[in-house]
């Protein structure tokens, strides 16, 4: 596969993964990465620079919002929350991913459940 396509694919799916992880509750960066790694059984891992690069990009687009949270007896952390725009994007990307995945499965002959 072409290296550029690979990168774009990954990037697109990574954005989807982060938005999906933030759906339902705010999380801080480490939590996001850890959850994705855990849920994927370790198949998908982010390095620190690309994780925060992605988060900053999503925030710049207004899809998520980061805030420093100060809780008693806990460390200060920046937690990211899904915005309304983010929620809309997530729904859109989910739909797109379904269509894309179904197409890939059909062509590659993979059973998809």
């Amino acid at each position: 596969m072409d290296a550029t396509l690979d990168r774009e694919l990954k990037k697109g799916s990574a954005e989807l993964l982060i938005l999906a992880t933030l759906e339902g509750r705010p999380r801080h960066g480490y939590d996001v990465a850890k959850r994705i790694a855990d849920e994927s059984g370790g198949a998908i891992r982010f390095n620190v620079a690309s994780l925060y690069g992605l988060l900053y990009r999503l925030e710049s687009r207004g899809w998520i919002r980061g805030r420093w949270i100060e809780a008693p007896a806990a460390r200060r952390r920046r937690a990211y929350t899904l915005t309304a725009a983010g929620r809309a994007t997530l729904a859109e990307q989910r739909e797109g991913w379904k269509v894309f995945a179904a197409a890939v499965s059909r062509i590659a002959g993979v059973e998809h459940g």
Binding site: R25, P26, H28, G29, Y30, A33, K34, N47, V48, A49, Y52, G53, Y56, R57, E59, S60, G66, R67, W68, I69, E70, A71, P72, A73, A74, R75, R76, R77, R78, A79
Partner: protein, 921 residues
């Protein structure tokens, strides 16, 4: 500082971010890496491995710079902190706090495991100090706090007659009389309930009777103490009348031992002193009052003679009352004074005698009376051992401070990276509480083992029969001390967090830190304090030790190898004087016939025993001038052969022999002290000693109202009841058994054979004469003397142990300060050496520091010791204040310890390699 944090700092610096961006991005990355690091460590990685992994995953300088560029534009300024997150499904704040503390403990455990030396030193120091404190507190708890185990013990008041100018009377036996009791029941309403009692030995059983301690008491005692029988009942009021008084109440212990805890014991007969008594009740297991050895109670039925005015000032009883609601000791005292003043008018014949004797009746809390002897030593020990804990905690504080200084950079980084200060503080306190708990746990275990396992571990301070154990109060005390120490250390550790600007410490990371000088001064001051307290404690222990050694060297005046054992003749079997005398003579003859026995005698008041008696006597022809009081010397009855067996020599005249019988002239022997008092500079032998037939006779002595005894001998003065003769002691006079036959006595046997053999022989001889009679309280005189030193010996042993602990701890403290000094000044020492500084100059740098600290500490400590010496001298009559030997010993020990503590740091200073130190900087 963990390596990864330093590395992150370096990379961020290299990325040349502007301050606001750095604060924003670097902090977020640091938080991320901190989480990662903690997860790795929690997953079992060593801190080094975890740090390596984190560094490996850390973005490089360029990546950080790119991140900074992609940072959302609206974050131009750091936004103000948002309100806390709403509670999510992870649970409430309490849960988060709990899991947070759990993580702190884990973190603390790891951090202490890294600092093995610190942890070991801290735990051992705490364990030793807390064990010592708990041992003493257990004693304090058992003796002082539990002295009177009845409801509202503070309301119990003892009333006693005192005759301060009359000599030993104030110290002897009971101190109240039967007529006083009836007077006070009406004239002292501030004591709503009152009771009169005395303890004495009784023979219990028909065949092979055993000798037990009984308390004869007015039936009012039990209601006054709010005590009820566990089975049956206590006495009814009419059982305090003659004819109805053959009743007995048993202790739980006696009931179980003698009756196997039988349920039907109430109503059964028990032979006491040869007379059957009916058992009416059994007291609860934990009931005890006044004398822990009492195992049965008998109702007091006073005879008409006992109630009569003739027996006034015959003080054989103890009088205790319970304060009326709202009444105070002062009210009781004023009512007593009014009563006594009225009695002086009622009995004018006694007036002068009593006034000169300084007579008064004093009211004191029972609690104070019971613990009078051991209270002061225990409080002194408590104070001493608290000082030891103080020294130990100061050491730990210094260690913690040093450790926190080393961790300061780490903590500052965490703070700079966004950790909440409250969070860090909580973690420090949690950590040190855990440390204190470890030390406290081990200390409590050690103290528990000492109290349980080592009978000599200071338990000698506790009266016989008293159980000493860890009760909830001791555990609570242990927990309180542990928490106190833990929080104190945590607060010290917080110094690393609170006052210093985090930035300044970060900048200073790795170089000599600001505040070093203040820290050093503070540590010096702490060690000066330690040396001072240790010095005071050591001198105090030394004073106790030297005075104790002097006490051991005191000549008792009698042979301590003499074997003694008590015999009591029940009045049922031996009703008359001649019966008793005949038995006594047969017994002594049989004892003297035992092979190896060199001399045998008997006495009513064995030296260092519990039986004391004194009675007013004066030389014939003497009348008190105004300001002079009659005196009340010890009065003792002895068998012929007593002085010979005890090795008490006659210095004039003769000792008693078979010629001193009922029909012959009444005779008396006095000791040298009394002879010198009554007939100073003259020969006492052949003169007459008078004893009043009643107290009233003293105002107008005549041939009729006086007993008259011819002095036939003067014997050497011996120590009667203690190695320290009471200041107001006036001497002793002795009567012969032949003219005054006792119902119970102690045999005194000087034998060439071993004590065990003598004891066996004595029991055999006694059984052959009357198998019903037990021989009890069998002891060699030396054991009796030792017994009298029990509390003293325990105090000395404990104070020496604490002094030693204080010495060791302060030496460690000194070592710490010097080692710190050398470590801090390694560079300076290196430069000096490079510049050709002589070894002696460098050694003197360390020595000077040591000398200043120890010198100042000693000066302060000796001032404290002077104060302590005065305190001890005022508490114990045989302690003469500052003992030179104690001072020399304490100073010598401290200097030796200081030398040891100085040697290692000095050697380290001399080994400094200039090239290495300078390169390191």
């Amino acid at each position: 500082m963990a390596d990864w944090r330093r590395e992150l700092d370096t990379r961020c610096t290299a990325a040349a971010l502007d301050a606001a961006v750095r604060d924003d991005i670097a902090r977020e990355i640091a938080e991320h890496l901190e989480d990662r690091y903690e997860d790795l460590v929690a997953g079992g990685a060593s801190p080094e491995e975890a740090s390596r992994t984190v560094v490996g995953e850390m973005p490089g300088r360029d990546a950080i710079r790119r991140l900074a560029q992609s940072r959302p534009a609206h974050r131009a300024r750091p936004a103000p902190p948002a309100p806390p997150l709403p509670v999510d499904e992870d649970g409430g704040g309490l849960w988060r706090l709990a899991t947070g503390i759990g993580r702190d403990l884990l973190f603390g455990w790891r951090s202490f495991r890294r600092d093995r030396a610190f942890t070991a030193a801290a735990v051992v120091t705490l364990a030793a100090c807390l064990a010592a404190n708990l041992v003493v507190f257990t004693l304090v708890n058992a003796v002082l706090l539990d002295a009177v185990d009845v409801p509202e013990p503070q309301a119990l008041v003892q009333v006693g007659n005192q005759y301060p100018n009359a000599g030993a009377a104030a110290n002897a036996g009971g101190n109240s009389g039967v007529p006083d009791y009836f007077d006070r029941r009406t004239a002292v309403p501030a004591l709503a309930e009152q009771a009169l009692f005395r303890t004495h030995g009784v023979s219990v059983g028909d065949q092979a009777a055993e000798r037990l301690v009984a308390m004869t008491t007015t039936p009012t005692l039990f209601p006054m103490l709010r005590a009820q029988a566990a089975r049956g009942r206590t006495f009814t009021d009419d059982e305090g009348e003659e004819g109805r008084h053959r009743k007995v109440v048993l202790s739980d212990a006696l009931w179980r031992r003698r009756f196997g805890g039988a349920g039907n014991v109430v109503g059964q007969p028990l032979t006491i002193g040869g007379v059957p008594h009916e058992i009416v009740g059994v007291m609860p297991r934990d009931f005890r009052f006044y004398d822990d050895e009492v195992v049965l109670w008998l109702p007091a039925a006073f005879t008409a003679e006992e109630r009569s005015d003739a027996s006034r000032h015959s003080n054989n009883w103890t009088h205790v009352g319970r304060l009326s609601p709202g009444a105070t000791l002062t009210v009781v005292q004023s009512q007593l004074d009014a009563l006594n003043a009225a009695n002086l008018e009622r009995f004018p014949a006694l007036r002068n005698v009593l006034v000169e004797a300084g007579f008064r009746s004093a009211a004191q809390p029972v609690v104070d009376v019971l613990v009078a002897e051991v209270r002061r030593p225990l409080y002194l020990l408590w104070g001493g051992v608290a000082c030891v804990l103080l020294i130990g905690v100061v050491n730990l504080a210094a260690l913690t401070l040093a450790r926190s200084t080393a961790r300061r950079a780490e903590i500052a980084t965490r703070l700079a990276l966004g950790a909440a200060p409250a969070r860090v503080r909580l973690q420090l306190v949690t950590e040190h509480l855990a440390l204190a708990a470890a030390g406290g746990g081990i200390g409590a275990a050690v103290a528990w083992a000492l109290i349980r396992g080592v009978p000599g571990a200071g338990l000698a301070l506790v009266p016989d029969g008293r159980t000493v154990d860890f009760d909830p109060r001791v555990w609570a005390y242990a927990a309180a001390l542990t928490v106190l120490v833990g929080v104190a250390l945590g607060v010290v550790a917080m110094q690393a967090v609170a006052p210093h600007g985090t930035a300044s410490v970060l900048r200073d990371e790795g170089r000599s830190r600001t505040g070093t000088r203040t820290t050093r001064r503070l540590r010096q001051a702490l060690v000066v304090g330690q040396v001072a307290v240790a010095c005071t404690l050591l001198v105090g222990a030394g004073i106790l030790f030297t005075s104790f050694r002097k006490l051991l060297a005191v000549d008792t005046g009698f042979r301590t190898s003499v074997m003694t054992g008590a015999v009591a003749l029940p009045s049922a079997a031996y009703p008359t004087d001649p019966d008793r005398l005949a038995f006594l003579e047969r017994l002594l003859d049989a004892v003297r016939a035992i092979p190896g026995v060199e001399a045998a005698g008997a006495t009513t008041n064995i030296p260092f025993g519990t039986n004391r008696s004194d009675s007013v006597a004066f030389p014939e022809g003497w009348t008190p001038t105004p300001g002079q009081s009659f005196v009340s010397p010890y009065q003792i009855r002895v068998a012929s052969g007593y002085f010979e067996s005890m090795g008490i020599p006659a210095v004039a005249g003769r000792t008693f022999d078979g010629s001193d019988v009922e029909d012959s002239e009444p005779v008396v022997i006095v000791d040298e002290q009394l002879a010198e008092r009554f007939w100073p500079g003259r020969d006492a032998v052949g003169r007459y000693l008078l004893q009043p037939r009643s107290a009233e006779a003293l105002s107008n002595p005549t041939r009729e109202n006086m007993f008259r005894y011819r002095v036939v001998g003067v014997v050497k003065t011996i120590k009667q009841y203690a190695l320290v003769t009471p200041r107001d002691s006036v001497g002793t006079y002795y009567f012969p058994f032949g003219q005054s036959v006792p119902a119970s006595f102690d045999l005194t046997v000087q034998s060439a054979t071993s004590p065990a053999t003598v004891e066996q022989d004595l029991r055999r001889v006694l059984a052959s004469l009357d198998p019903r009679l037990p021989l009890y309280d069998v002891q060699v005189m030396r054991a009796r003397v030792d017994e009298s030193l029990r509390a003293r010996r325990a105090t000395v042993t404990l104070s020496l142990a604490f002094g030693g602990l204080a010495l060791g701890l302060s030496a460690l403290g000194l070592y710490g300060v010097l080692a710190y000094l050398v470590a801090q000044r390694t560079r300076e020492i290196g430069i000096r050496m490079a510049l050709g500084g002589s070894t002696s100059a460098i050694a003197s740098l360390v020595l000077r520091e040591s000398l200043v600290v120890v010198g100042v500490g000693l000066v302060v400590g000796l001032a404290g010791a002077a104060w302590l010496g005065r305190l001890l001298a005022s508490e114990m009559s045989d302690v003469g204040g500052l003992e030179p030997l104690a001072i020399v010993g304490a100073v010598g020990l401290l200097l030796a310890a200081a030398l040891l503590a100085t040697a290692a740091p000095a050697r380290r200073a001399l080994r400094v390699d200039p090239a290495v130190t300078l390169a390191a900087e």
